[in-house]
């Protein structure tokens, strides 16, 4: 963690095109250390696409993202180092135990030894410490999700990108996730999350992705005509 150094993360005029369809256009966001940006919007508005764009999995058709006023795309390796992404799949291998799964992911980070020391604690936070030797195929959907969330707690990264993190979680776990997000922010981390269920998070910035969606047909046509 960077301590008290403030960081900023912003997007400028982002345009997302998927399969020749304009998903959203001219989308802007800005956040700084300790912030939480919650993405809302109807299905297909582009919440997941925006998160994937922030992670660098998806390229923006136009516009750019800035971290501390540096263009993110200029140094993707550094950007990947500072983010954690939780997507729709939990990446838990059925034949590996929870411990082997998490140790592997922790080992790929640059703070590998620290992360590998931390992960037991992380499992306990989501009360799945007792499942440490259980192969992934015996986990329920919610337990897999909790193991995946334990992965991001184990190694420190300032930016968390959570795509519907509450899927399959019970109420108690959602509460724990809220606490974890709270302490991550208190340590100067940033969180971007998309959700359909209401999460109880303080001072969150809400971004309605639907507002940028290109339901207005003529605009999308004109953007495409410009070759964006």
């Amino acid at each position: 963690m960077k301590g008290k150094v403030m960081a900023t993360f912003a997007g400028r005029d982002l345009v997302c095109i998927r399969g020749e369809r304009l998903v959203f256009s001219k989308l802007n966001f800005a956040m700084e250390s300790g912030g939480c940006l919650t993405l809302i919007g109807h299905n297909g508005a582009g919440k997941s696409s925006l998160l994937r764009m922030m992670a660098g999995l998806l390229h923006a058709a136009s516009g750019d993202m800035l971290w501390d006023d540096q263009v993110v795309a200029d140094d993707m390796d550094e950007h990947r180092e500072r983010l954690h992404y939780v997507g729709h799949h939990d990446a838990i291998k059925p034949v590996l135990t929870v411990e082997e799964n998490l140790k592997f992911w922790a080992g790929l980070r640059s703070d590998a030894s620290e992360a590998q020391a931390n992960f037991k604690e992380a499992l306990d936070i989501f009360s799945i410490g007792h499942l440490i030797d259980v192969p992934g195929r015996f986990l329920s959907a919610g337990q897999k999700r909790r193991a995946n969330l334990a992965r991001i707690i184990a190694s420190k990264s300032p930016l968390w990108l959570l795509d519907e993190p509450t899927t399959a979680l019970d109420k108690e776990s959602i509460k724990k996730l809220e606490d974890v997000i709270e302490s991550h922010r208190a340590n100067g981390g940033m969180v971007v999350l998309s959700t359909h269920s209401d999460m109880n998070i303080k001072d969150q910035q809400i971004l309605n992705v639907s507002e940028f969606s290109a339901a207005r047909g003529h605009e999308s046509a004109s953007l495409l005509a410009e070759g964006i």
Binding site: R52, A55, G56, L57, L58, H59, D77, R80, E81, L83, Y85, G87, H88, H89, D90, A91, I92, K93, V95, L96, E100, F104, W105, G107, L108, R109, S110, A112
Partner: protein
Amino acid sequence: MGRFLSIVRRDLRLALRQGSDSVMVVMFFVLTVVLFPFGIGPEGNILARVASGVIFVAALLASMLSLERLFQTDYEDGSLELLTLSPMPLEIIVLAKITAHWLTTGLPLMIASPLLAVLMNMDGNGFAMLMLALLLGTPALSLIGAIGAALVLGSRRGGVLISLLVLPLFVPVLIFGVGLIEAAIGGFAVKSQILILSGILFACLAFCPFAAAAAVRQSVE
């Protein structure tokens, strides 16, 4: 390097726990070659004449079998996304996965090959070169195959498509691999074939991880 090895170790562990895959590949290899004496007839000199080609083609098809699994399971359970997002270069990750693939398919094929050479009545002078040809050839197959495996991610019936994509690319390896064995059996100099096979391997080593990584990036988009 530690992280490279941790990916290799993980893939080997996955292969061992799932078990069937690499055993299946070797069984396929053995069975295909064993079919030839039944089809062609048990005449020793005919079998000896085709031995090197049959063994090499069978090895090529067998390594083809397991290619689809190289990225597919990681793609389906979201691991590939996370690997793409990990701070280490994707090219290195892809190379680690290819290494694990070779260790679980190419290497067992190479070890099984002398047995089949005996079965095919191959001339004793060719055994060592058969092993060497497979040692140089099968890693090249894994490397080239990885491009195909990455390209077909997300498509249905990827397995068939991979074969169509990469089998033509395997032709040089086949020509020079069999050439090496035949030269050894005939008592000719083998240096040039060894150099060309090594050249192909190193060219693949330099180029294929980049191409496969680019295809993986495309697939997770």
